[in-house]
């Protein structure tokens, strides 16, 4: 009897969303151990770390696009801003890592709020290209503003100092991987809380009909600004993580191509899906390095990973326009058919 009760408690806990996020994070934390044991190439840790960083940025865009229906093509610019602020403060101004990360979140957010003001006047495609305009302004600034960004050749930083210990080359990947997992899980939980609360409902209403939402007392200005602020804060955080993980940032990274890739993550993963965003990031940023480059014969051809990824993206959009999270529910119904036929009636 008692056993069953504890079992019940456990299954209830496991069903709680936040516990699931934590379990997901714990599972990810096992990967460095697998790498250390030699099951997985340790180079994959860097690829997967990159995937998690882009997942954080995409989570912000998912808040913006999925919940409030506003499209931004400026993600790359803001992420770049995050890298440069974090890198400059840490390596040139000798400030602690924590300060550099906070600044890398706050400064892009401030710019993002300004862009949010623009979004009150325009929407849809016009907004997307207006944000592209902002991103291009930022990118050109990275190229020209030598003293801050290092110009075309970029900005390099040393190994970050975390919790009073300077990371060495050996421990760096493992420790930073865990830090990235913590950041990703934190962002997933934060996003979950934000969209399950009043903010989420207000954004839903806005996406459905701005006029109706306004009539219901939703302050459009306030919520659009909040949505933009959150999206850029996430992008800034992703930038800061990128700078401390990859330790090198240069203007050619932060182009329209990256913004489109992050948009692809959101659409492929499925709008308004938190796990989907992570999965989408894995498809867009992980598949080329993790899978395609390991297939014999074709891996030596230049550009082959691009082609495969491009085709993969097109195929997913053509057959699963709602995102690959749909694939799983489809598989579930497919698997459940022989058994669940009677139950469904």
């Amino acid at each position: 009897m008692k056993l069953r009760q504890s079992e019940h408690l456990f299954s209830r806990a496991a069903r709680h969303a936040h516990v699931r996020y934590l379990l997901f994070g714990l599972a990810l934390c096992l990967l460095p151990a697998l790498a250390a044991a030699g099951v997985m190439k340790s180079a994959y840790l860097i690829n997967l770390g990159g995937v998690m960083i882009y997942a954080v940025a995409a989570m912000g865009l998912n808040l913006l696009l999925g919940y409030s229906g506003l499209i931004s093509l400026g993600t790359a610019g803001f992420m770049g801003l995050g890298t440069y602020v974090a890198g400059y403060l840490f390596s040139r101004a000798d400030l602690p890592v924590a300060v550099s990360v906070v600044a890398a979140v706050v400064i892009p957010t401030a710019v993002g709020i300004l862009v949010g003001l623009v979004s009150l006047r325009i929407s849809g495609l016009y907004l997307a290209i207006a944000t592209l305009c902002v991103s291009e302004i930022l990118r050109k600034t990275y190229e020209e503003f030598d003293s801050f960004t290092g110009g075309f050749s970029g900005l390099k930083t040393g190994y970050p100092v975390l919790f009073g210990m300077k990371l060495s080359r050996e421990s760096f990947n493992t420790v930073m991987f865990v830090v990235l997992v913590i950041a990703l899980v934190g962002v997933m939980m934060l996003t979950h809380n934000l969209v399950s609360g009043q903010l989420g409902r207000a954004l839903h209403a806005m996406r459905g009909s701005e006029v109706a939402a306004q009539a219901m007392g939703v302050n459009l200005l306030k919520y659009r600004l909040i949505a933009f602020a959150l999206a850029t804060a996430y992008a800034g955080l992703a930038g800061a993580l990128y700078m401390h993980f990859i330790r090198y940032s240069y203007p050619a990274l932060w182009t329209l191509g990256l913004s489109l890739n992050i948009l692809a993550v959101v659409v492929i993963g499925g709008l308004r899906s938190i796990y989907g965003t992570v999965l989408g990031a894995l498809v867009v940023f992980g598949v080329p390095d993790l899978i395609i480059k390991n297939i014999p014969y074709i891996k030596d051809l230049p550009g082959v990973s691009y082609i495969f990824n491009g085709i993969l993206i097109i195929v997913i959009i053509m057959f699963y326009p709602q995102g690959i999270t749909r694939l799983f529910s489809d598989l579930k119904t497919l698997a459940g058919k022989p058994f669940g036929k009677g139950a469904r009636g």
């Binding site: 696009l65 499209i71 623009v118 006047r121 325009i122 495609l125 016009y126 997307a128 290209i129 207006a130 592209l132 305009c133 902002v134 291009e136 302004i137 050109k140 600034t141 020209e144 009909s209 701005e210 006029v211 109706a212 182009t255 329209l256 191509g257 489109l260 890739n261 948009l263 692809a264 659409v267 492929i268 051809l301 230049p302 550009g303 082959v304 990973s305 691009y306 082609i307 495969f308 990824n309 491009g310 085709i311 993969l312 993206i313 097109i314 959009i317 053509m318 326009p321």
Partner: protein, 291 residues
Amino acid sequence: MGTLLQLLLRSLETGGIYALAALGIIIIYRTSNITHFAQGAMGMFNAFVVTMLFTRFGLPLWLCTLGGMGTAVLSGFAVDLIIVRHTKKVSPVAKQIITLGLIMVFVGITPMLFGVDPLRLPRFIETGAVALGGASISYNGILNIALGVGIMLALFYVLQNTKLGLAIRTTASNEYTARLMGVPTRRVTLFAWALAAALGCLSGVMIAPVTSVTVNLMDSVQVNALIACVLGGFQTFYGPVLGAYLIGVGNNLLTYYVSSVWGGQILYLLILLFIVFRPQGLVGKKMVKKV
């Protein structure tokens, strides 16, 4: 005075390159309801075809360009037949991601077929310049300006005064009704993709001599063409063309007279401000949303 004229002439040249690409984007947008982010990538691919024909087979450049436009038409056909035609049920945002997938495919195929080394493509007319009121312009510049303006005028004539143009305009205004009226919208869309690809190829060939032929050849053209579409408004065909020439002129004037470092940023900032105060673009009509 001479400098100003010189700047304006050069702006007409770059503006024409942006305008050709922008016209491709707007035609695709109006007929297929897709923001064509791969316009630059497809132009880049076909510019590589031109370069290859030129360097490997030593054909005259105009013939190579025609060949490149031929492959451009084929690639446009392929994109529409294999992909775009089957995406009727896909949401507008997801459709944009399809063009992202196209970028990846073309950026991937290019080094596979043509190698990873940057190539050079000469100008149509290598030497010779003409003095014009204190400014000097190369014969090639004149040719580019004439080609840009000529193609634009020819296309607008076709759009306004022929049956094909009428079919395109009807499809652009409402595809469903157009189909009910007996307009072969599928063929119109197919033609639009081929036309857009050919225009992209031409703008690629025009910009190639300025830099070298790499996979990044069309990056700035793509961005400027998209911004030109917003500046001009998506509702008309001539708006984006106007926007493209304005960006060309604005960029040259600002970088010369204001700041060579910050000119580009100032231009984009001004465009941004302009969009805020006139969201529908230069010549667009304001859409009223019904509840």
